[in-house]
Amino acid sequence: MEIIVTQLFNGLSGGSILLLAALGLALTFGQMGVINMAHGEFIMAGAYTAYVTQNVLGSAGLSLFVSLPIAFVVGGLLGVVLEATLLRRMYHRPLDTLLVTWGVSLVLQQLARDVFGTAGVDVPAPSWLSGPVELLGFSFPRTRLFILALAVAAFVALALALRFTPLGRRIRATVQNRPLAETAGISTRATDRLTFFIGSGLAGVAGVALTLMGSISPNLGTSYIVDAFLVVVVGGVGQVRGAVIAAFVLGIVQSFLEYSTTASIAKVLVFALIVAFLQTRPQGIFAVRTRSLA
């Protein structure tokens, strides 16, 4: 019983990190057909934003909350620059974007090495996040609970914004029928740019969360980008809610497999399961349903 609860919690916690890393990708890959390998480096930029903010402010307690919005803007701006300079010429050409953004991600990593050095740096968690919460005889690390709450909050905020705000309606309309959106008076270029800002901004937020998990280094993003893409593909391209289910299922499966085997075998098994799943359901958990072209 104890093992089940512990592994379940570890799984949810791992899933929440996957979700934070993948949420922005679900938006930009799923909805715009852009494979952005630099998304991982936007995560890294968010993490270093937390590092810089903490050095400037000096107080860990305050800087966590200050760095979340700043990292969102930093990630968002990086995304907009990438979109405006390179990606806008390559919508719905996944392979081209893959190569170009891979190059960009290498450049960003080198840039981070030049500025912050190759070695990892620590961003100490605020004191109110240190130690565990004891509940029903189990102990849950506070940092992991915080990340879980942050991931859920980010998803809920994104889902509500897509569903109920004018910008959300414009994004959905543009995704569903671009020419129709244009002729309905929507600037699809402006909508694309804002979508990219939000998606990349979420990567920045994920980066802040990752500073709570350990030290950060310029190649932080490379360890998350593949998993994040797996979440998007398994969830169903273009489906934000699919990404949620996929992230938590993958997190929990991986956690239990890691317990019964080893970390690397668990990884291989997860890969195998994903391949098997995509064999039977190539469109992912959710497919975009349409009755006609409309």
Partner: protein
């Protein structure tokens, strides 16, 4: 209101529209007729800005819009109802209208006015547009166009492929719109009778060229029929 002068339009390397000149006067209703594949839809896509013109010019209210994006033409008073009852299928009927009304000062009132034209939509506001019938989706498409407060409405075969019971309703709505002042209409239509009923001027298109034109009204039906028979 709208002029297309000597426009050349096509896809890839092939040209589909060869040097067509069309004018829609302020408050005027103009019909474009022609067989399937004549290039009617292609011509409208160029008018709206979804397809670039290879040569020729397009003006709206006397201003050159030849290279401008569709949404900017919409801002200048153009609205377009494409062929095939298109809608944002995953969004509700109401959201389909809201997404156009967003940011407009009179947005809510405009949605209500558009719905007044097609009362049948009132009961379907919460339903996903992709689940509506073809006729309902076409009514939604016209309503959506009206929310932009157009001064020029461009309609591509608005009754094509729609169940007969709804065709009359849509035709009545279009006739009502053409008679309400301040709105020009460019109508592509296969039903010669209805098109000439609505239009003050017509063009017949064949193989991407204007092969006949004249004034609307029932008196022109035989002229159009013989022009189309060639």
């Amino acid at each position: 209101m709208l002029t297309m002068t000597d426009v050349e339009v096509g896809y890839g390397r092939t040209s589909v529209i060869h040097g067509v000149t069309v004018e829609v006067p302020p408050d005027g209703v103009v019909a474009v007729m022609g067989h399937n594949g004549a290039g009617k839809t292609t011509l409208l896509r160029a008018a709206v800005g979804l397809l670039p013109t290879r040569s020729g010019t397009i003006t709206l209210d006397g201003e050159d819009v030849t290279g401008t994006a569709p949404h900017k033409r919409v801002r200048r008073g153009l609205a377009y109802v494409p062929q095939g009852q298109q809608s944002f299928g995953q969004m509700t009927t109401l959201e389909n209208l809201q997404v156009v009304a967003d940011g407009r000062a009179r947005g809510a009132a405009l949605v209500d006015e558009a719905l007044d034209l097609f009362p049948a939509l009132h009961g379907l506001l919460g339903r996903r547009a992709g689940l509506l019938s073809g006729g309902q989706r076409q009514q939604l498409a016209i309503a959506r166009a009206l929310v932009t407060e157009p001064r020029l409405l461009i309609l591509d075969e608005p009754t094509e492929g729609i169940q007969p019971s709804v065709v009359a309703e849509i035709e009545q709505a279009i006739l009502g719109l053409t008679r309400r002042g301040g709105l020009s209409v460019l109508l592509v239509e296969q039903h010669v009778g209805f098109a000439l009923d609505a239009a003050g001027h017509y063009y017949v298109l064949a193989s991407g060229r204007v092969t006949a034109e004249g004034t609307g009204g029932a008196g022109s039906v035989t002229d159009v029929r013989s022009a189309m028979a060639i």
